[in-house]
Subunit: 252 residues, 2 copies
């Protein structure tokens, strides 16, 4: 499985992805799911992948091939982020279609989805969710983040913390905490973790960080969060067990 999250705040964008893939429990592997494109100072594009690994790899390969061969459109030629998302959706559908027809079994599922974001000079910074069918939605002020994969474990903390006013540092921290909750409760999501912090108008994907499983900061964060959650929990008050108004009468 996979967990990816992309956050858009006023100051920029944050992307985070795990790197565990599995085709059955015997087939655990590590593949990065974060890919960057663009030209420093002109455009910065980030793609996070989820779903069938053969599909996502062929999509990434095609994106690079289109740039190299100058096929139109490509990530170096698209004029704005919406055009870029549409192009990514088309490439994804086309790659999936290639293998659907040759499939022997009904259980074969080549589908893939993508979190996609960045900025092209002259436009706004944006985050999109590109669905397996190639259509897409955009993160908005009311919905400042998008997730794919094992999204539920790490959603409550995002819902509590992230707004458009959240700083980039806090958004990146929240993405790591969200990732930590997911990894703790689900064995199919795991390190290394990719984190990319995109500062609005920087038009650069240079702040791309990789955290290994034994990264001292990651271990410290994991322990600190665990400790703080326990402290927070221990500060809550139990309800009064003796208050009669909540008691349900025995129906027998």
């Amino acid at each position: 499985m996979t967990y990816c999250v992309a956050i858009t705040v006023d100051k920029g964008l944050v992307f985070a992805s795990d790197s565990r893939t599995n085709a059955g429990v015997d087939h655990l592997s590590t593949y990065t799911k974060m890919f960057t494109f663009g030209k420093e100072g002109e455009r910065a594009l980030v793609v996070l992948t989820a779903g069938n690994l053969a599909t996502t790899q062929s999509v990434i390969a095609q994106l690079h091939r289109d740039i190299k061969q100058g096929s139109q459109p490509n990530f170096d030629s698209v004029q704005d982020m919406t055009e870029a998302a549409e192009y990514l959706g088309q490439i994804s559908s086309a790659q999936q279609q290639k293998h659907v027809q040759t499939s022997a079994g009904a259980t074969f599922d080549p589908s893939a989805s993508f979190l996609f974001g960045g900025q092209i000079a002259g436009g706004e910074h944006r985050v999109f969710m590109v669905y397996p069918e190639g259509n897409f939605i955009m993160a908005t002020p009311e919905n400042p983040y998008q997730q794919t994969g094992e999204i539920k474990y790490g959603k409550p903390i995002l819902d509590r913390i992230i707004t458009r006013k959240t700083s980039l540092e806090q958004a990146a921290l929240c993405a790591l905490v969200s990732m930590d909750s997911t990894m703790r409760s689900n064995a199919t999501v795991g390190p290394p973790l990719d984190v990319l912090i995109y500062e609005k108008d920087s038009l650069s994907v240079r702040r791309h960080f990789l955290f290994q499983a034994d990264d001292p900061y990651l271990l410290e964060l994991k322990n600190a969060w665990d400790q703080k959650i326990r402290e927070a929990f221990s500060g809550l008050h139990s309800f009064n067990l003796e208050e009669p108004e909540r008691l349900v009468a025995n129906t027998e």
Copy 2:
């Protein structure tokens, strides 16, 4: 959808369930999912239901009918908790089978699952998960809780807090916090909430509480937890963005 959790600790058992049901977003209703059986001082049995509402209602009705008619086995006659879980599984399979055969469409799904627990005099207090097929597993010291329905949002807090040594009050509080995280992130889980606290060897289901949506304690808990999570988060340290060893080299 549904969220139910049953926790087993050394001192006893805690059960919690929401009461929202939906068949499509137009068809939201409120039905309790917690049902108690037994005889004070002799046996205390609790059933939490998830899945097809017609199935779960007919299962509960059959459980009552079997007691009334003295059919063997029934919840008043079973000798131990494992026998009780097996009987519940059989009733559930039988009710599902009745409607599978008359189904017109392939999308009809009569399946239901149950969290089941309690204690019968002379035996231990136990919690079981009864699957749609009627088979079941038991909560163990390594796995002190079972969940059904929308389980993922509320799992991280259970994983952090619950052990066999947790007190009944703390386990009940943790169940409410787990429920709160789920309700916050998923609209298909909602109040009123049933909570039942079973003290080991009490052989009584009297501590069954119902929290309405506007229950002052529930609102206070929701706000207090939100506040404490924010405080906990604000006490975490961001990673050093300038440390070069984590930077991923741009591959272009």
